[in-house]
Amino acid sequence: MSLVKIENASMGYEGKVIVPNLSININDGDYVCIVGENGSGKTTLMKCLLGLIKPLSGSVSFGDGLRQNEIGYLPQQTILQKDFPASVYEVVLSGCLNKKHTLFYSKEQKKMALSNMEKVGIISLKKKCFRELSGGQKQRVMLARALCATHKMLILDEPVTGLDPMAATDMYALIKNLNKSGITIVMVSHDITAAVNNSSKILHLSKNDYFYGTAHQYLHSDIGRKFMITDCPCDDCQHHNHKKDNGGEC
């Protein structure tokens, strides 16, 4: 049974369909990148996965013991958070609230928060103020918080927006590691190159159509060729293009 099963679902707001008739499976351990132009429905699909909106028709169901409120979520940062006075520890702990409905944090929850902070390498920032961190550090804090809410699946909304290239590379490496440790990743991204390099599957949304398959299949599909700025670096394609440069594999 797959972790998430979307069947013939159309999604949108107030009757206006943005993503028509989508059917995909996300399996345990997948690293799915959702790409597409602005307005193609990436955010709408993500909200649907998170249960913030309901599909207009069709179904979104969860398997393998995953419940909808057990998906970790890394949202884009809001203006409100720019001057928010809170310590890193407080922010990370707030991710534990979906676990047990107790009034105050239990010992296990505190332990989990600390171990997740260790996982993303921010344990030394524990007592720092959130608003004084750099962009990359802030994203790590949000990632640790998202990890507190889940054991299985993370949804990341453009996790490298506003990060410098170094911080972005670090972030992608961190996400890749989390994926290797068994967490299913669903990432909305504009960074198509990083998507192709990192993810195992690509979901490309465009008006009235979509592509879902491995990164390799994507590079050789019509939709992928159109969307990629650079050519596919694999031998077949390079040969086909009569170019001598034969970089890495797909």
Partner: protein, 274 residues
């Protein structure tokens, strides 16, 4: 100094006002942090204007002021919260409309029924206005506000920091927003007789802003805000007694002075760092 204090607290009405004021300051400080961070500061202001309308109507109909004001302000709080959440209607414009309408209704009611003398005390507060029954009711409401706030503290933090995340991970954010609106409404009701309907929102905003200048943890912001608010109220009340100035306004001025001091300290700190 000690002589002045003993003299001050020999008056019953001052003791009543002091008890109510202390509790209101504490409630306002706790909620203020959340309201300021959620960008809901104006809701407090809007509600206090509605409160003025309710008090004026109650006075002209010879009803008990608090019993009219409590339900009216609670209803207004829900309404304003819905309006701010609904992106189709411009939230701050809606608040302006509601508050000025309520103010206008209040002024008309007061002038028609001819109870002019009270107008000033409604707008700017009066230390004499609290009866023993009022004081008891205020104390009960204030304790309710503080207890609910402490019980929901972690959830209120989560909803304040990131509503979308909280909602996505299964927290019923609607309920907690409603709780926040309800608590704000209650705080304004109990505070507006002493502080005045025009000045009560200062009590909500100033301590939160001051402590946010210096504190780095949410918990310390809340605690600092509470302590500041209590100190400012006490200092304002003493100043009002010794210089014979209006209580509400004196408390607001003390709060403003503290805010500018804190702002200056944080400004100098940042300058030194860079």
């Amino acid at each position: 100094m000690i002589q002045m204090l003993t003299e001050m607290f020999s008056y019953n009405f001052i003791i009543r006002a002091f008890i109510v004021g202390t509790l209101v300051s504490l409630c306002a400080a706790l909620l203020g942090v959340t309201l300021v961070l959620k960008r809901y500061s104006m809701i407090g202001d809007g509600l206090s204007h509605v409160g003025f309308g309710a008090l004026a109507v109650a006075a002209s109909l010879n009803l008990a002021p608090l019993e009219v004001a409590v339900p009216v302000i609670i209803i207004a709080a829900f309404l304003l919260l819905r309006l701010s959440e609904n992106s189709k209607i411009n939230g701050d414009a809606a608040i302006a409309i509601i508050s000025s309408t309520a103010l206008a209704i209040g002024v008309v009611c007061v002038s028609v029924s001819g109870v002019n003398t009270d107008l000033n005390s409604y707008l700017f507060g009066s230390i004499l206005a609290t009866t023993t029954a009022d004081a008891i009711m205020c104390a009960v409401l204030a304790v309710v506000v503080i207890v609910i706030y402490v019980i929901f503290y972690n959830k209120i933090f989560a909803v304040t920091f990131d509503e979308t995340f909280s909602k996505a991970t299964g927290l019923k954010t609607g309920i907690y927003n409603t709780v926040i609106a309800l608590l704000t409404a209650l705080t304004i009701v109990i505070g507006m007789r002493i502080m005045g309907t025009l000045l009560i929102s200062a009590l909500i905003i100033f301590p939160a802003l001051s402590s946010m200048r210096l504190c780095k943890k949410f918990k310390s912001v809340i605690i600092c805000s509470g302590i500041l608010s209590l100190c400012c109220f006490f200092a304002g009340m003493c100043a009002s007694y010794s210089f014979d100035t209006p209580t509400g306004a004196s408390v607001v001025i003390v709060n403003a002075v503290v805010f500018f001091t804190f702002w200056l300290i944080s400004f100098i700190r940042e300058k030194r760092k860079s």
